[in-house]
Amino acid sequence: MIDQVKSLTPTTPRADRGYVGVIITMAISLFLGGLSLHRGLGAHYQASSEASLERIMSASSTSALSSDITSRLEVRVLTPKERGLPASLTTLIDTSDGHHLASAEDKPWFDAYWRNQNRWRGAKGGLWAASPASINTKDRSTLGQRRIARLTPRSPPPLPWLSLMLGGLFSLLFALLACAKVHQGWRLAALTPLSMTPLGLSLFWEISKAEVSTQQSLEGATLIPIIAMVPLVILGLSQSITEGRRSAHRVAYTYMAPTLVSVGLLVFIPFSIGVALAFMRHSHGHFEWVGLSHFINILSASDYPLSHPLNFYFTLAVTLFWTFSNVLLHTSIGLSFALLLNREGLKLRGLYRALLIIPWAIPNYITALIWKGMFNQQYGLINQLLERLGIEPVSWMGSFWGAMTANITTNTWLGFPFMMVVTLGALQSIPTDLYEAADIAGASRWQTFRSITLPLLKPALLPAVILGSVWTFNMFNIIYLVSGGQPGGATDILITEAYRWAFEQDRYGYAAAYSLVIFFILLGYARLTQRLSKAAEEVYQ
């Protein structure tokens, strides 16, 4: 009864129901549904091609196959003209028509014959199958006949735009209707995801069509509509929560909407996939759930001794050392320059400042490569300079400390101008009468600096230091390009290590777990500094 009364007296005016949000969310749902359907169908056709190839290889004739497959299928029975010869001397004959393999078009077939595999994927996505080989692997000579089949892949199915659009349109109508007519939060939360039904039906219709045409069930078919439904569930929940408050904050939310949608699509989705990957193992395009084992592996560091460069704690220590020394150098050098430049009546200040921010303006990969050249053992300028001074040339990349010195020098050079500019800005905002007062009170320079300049710099410097340390912690380019982890991966920091796991070892899951650990370390650091800066603010207020 009370519910009914409430629904008769809507708390928000009609125009404020948030239709734009519904439309955008439905568009995202449609996009996700279409994308997963596309991927699902692609994988399905691939799998069905593989299955039919299996049938071809086991059957003796191709007569029982559907015309769709025979039109894409080519089978040859190859036999060498003389047996026992090495690959380079053998002429292959197609026994079905006596044709000699000689032309350039036959090259893939020639190669296929010598391949010590029964099933593989060809260069252009074609599927190959061959009867077991009797090839002498030592001298690549052969003994017998091979039956080889090639199936050209079916061109990826075009997306069924029409049925998707129709389904989407009806779903949108339902969702808008629910949004306009339903006022109770919980009903809206239930009805919004339900409005997915027409879109879901059209997705299932397309899936079943594909299943009929290939006579095979589509793996993970239920997953496709579920993926498409996720945004709607979120929308329903948020609608029910913001219900009632919406009108007061309408403008703010309207302003937030474009950013939230783009960040949701560009940041949140990849991030979630990344988190999911951390619990999986990847091999040859297949992902397998492994639970927490990556994390246990990383954190227990049982595979390598503590002093080994691949040990997590070793790398962590290197990273902390790297971050700390860089931030210390950046801040102290930047602060010194700012103090020097901030002296009253100093001439040429603008010129000095312009010169000093040059390192910041140069792209950091260029800086890294230049400094790498400068630290080169043979032609590097650093060693030339040392030679002038009568010191033996140093093999910088040969030792941990040498390589680390090169890295830190490079990063200091490019990083201090940021701190300098931050400090300069903060120095100029300190009121001059404070200094005058200190002068009158007879304070010494050092006292003035300690009790006026430094405390007043803190609110500007602290966030810059925090930001700088996060940037340095994840400073990929310098480490990767200057030392490249030499010697033997010892100077790799966590982020370059994670990159190597992912793109040099192809262990995506492990690398994702590694990255997630890095993320949590930084998150912990941020929480800590947040408390610190809050405490600092309280002290000085």
Binding site: M256, P258, L369, W413, V422, P463, Y499, F519
Partner: protein
């Protein structure tokens, strides 16, 4: 009396100008590596070996004409420009309204939103790289500039939000209040008052998001395998990569790539960090 004052002035002047003794040599030291690059670019040689003198002794445009005459030079530069421009556009366009809402309104979820944007700054590049690689592969956008634009936008948008929010915080509210009295609506306030007032901030934010794309190397190198889809940094790195050491060409390219950014830096140097630091403290 007047003499006394003059000597005091003189003393002060001398006392005030001593930093030159430190600043001159230090500045020289810091600028030297940049000068070496310029010197390398200007002499017709591909080796690295330089004398300690950082000033160019020969002036030759050989290296510059060499790299410009490469068949794919303009394609790659154009890729870089296109990717950077689109990233800037997306970064600034999608973030300025949110930055305004975060700066001016108090609404449920504001703190969470602010923290979320800050947290994205801590995402290790690799954490995003692996899934983005999969997503872009799934969308069929590997070897396509659009893929890179998507990737760069993930870092550019949150950064722009924070940077702009910091600037908006410094604009006094009285301006808007008086405009409200004059009968302006929220959208007029935003377009007619906030946006024109924060032009330098928008310029700096645009510069930073331009730079994320213009200066990015590793993602482009990982995602692009077709030479025609390379952004210029990927090509530039190859000059001094594993298989060649064409330092002259590298230096010439580096000069070409750095100069526009450096120019913008000098123009905008007064506004470079305002938003970052003021935004950081207030939260």
């Amino acid at each position: 009396m007047s003499e006394q004052r003059r000597s005091a002035l003189e003393q002060e002047w001398l006392g005030g100008q001593w930093p030159h003794l430190l600043l001159l040599p230090l500045c020289f030291m810091i600028v030297t590596p940049a000068l070496w690059v310029l010197k390398m670019a200007l002499r017709p040689s591909q080796s690295f070996d330089l004398s300690l003198n950082p000033f160019p002794t020969v002036l030759s445009a050989q290296n510059f004409t060499d790299i410009i005459n490469e068949p794919l030079f303009f394609t790659q530069i154009f890729n870089s420009l296109w990717v950077s421009a689109l990233t800037t556009l997306i970064g600034v366009f999608f973030s300025c309204t949110a930055a305004y809402a975060l700066s001016r309104y108090r609404f449920p979820g504001r703190r969470a939103g602010l923290n979320a944007f800050l947290v994205t700054q801590m995402f290790p590049g690799t954490l995003m790289m692996i899934p983005l690689y999969q997503v872009i592969d799934a969308l069929g956008l590997l070897d396509h500039v659009a893929g890179l634009v998507l990737v760069y936008s993930t870092t550019a948008i949150p950064f722009c939000v924070w940077n702009l929010k910091g600037y908006f915080d410094t604009i006094p509210r009285e301006l808007e209040e008086s405009a409200l009295v004059d009968g302006a609506g929220p959208f007029t306030l935003f377009w007619r008052i906030i946006i024109p007032l924060s032009r330098p901030a928008l310029a700096v934010t645009a510069l930073f998001s331009f730079m994320t794309a213009w200066n990015e190397y590793i993602l482009a190198a990982t995602f692009m395998s077709d030479e025609r889809a390379y952004t210029y940094p990927v090509r530039l790195q190859q000059y001094v990569g594993e298989y060649s050491t064409e330092w002259g060409h590298f230096a010439a390219g580096a000069t070409l790539v750095s100069l526009p950014v450096m120019l913008l830096f000098f123009i905008l140097q007064k506004h470079l960090v305002g938003g970052l630091t003021s935004g950081g403290v207030k939260g």
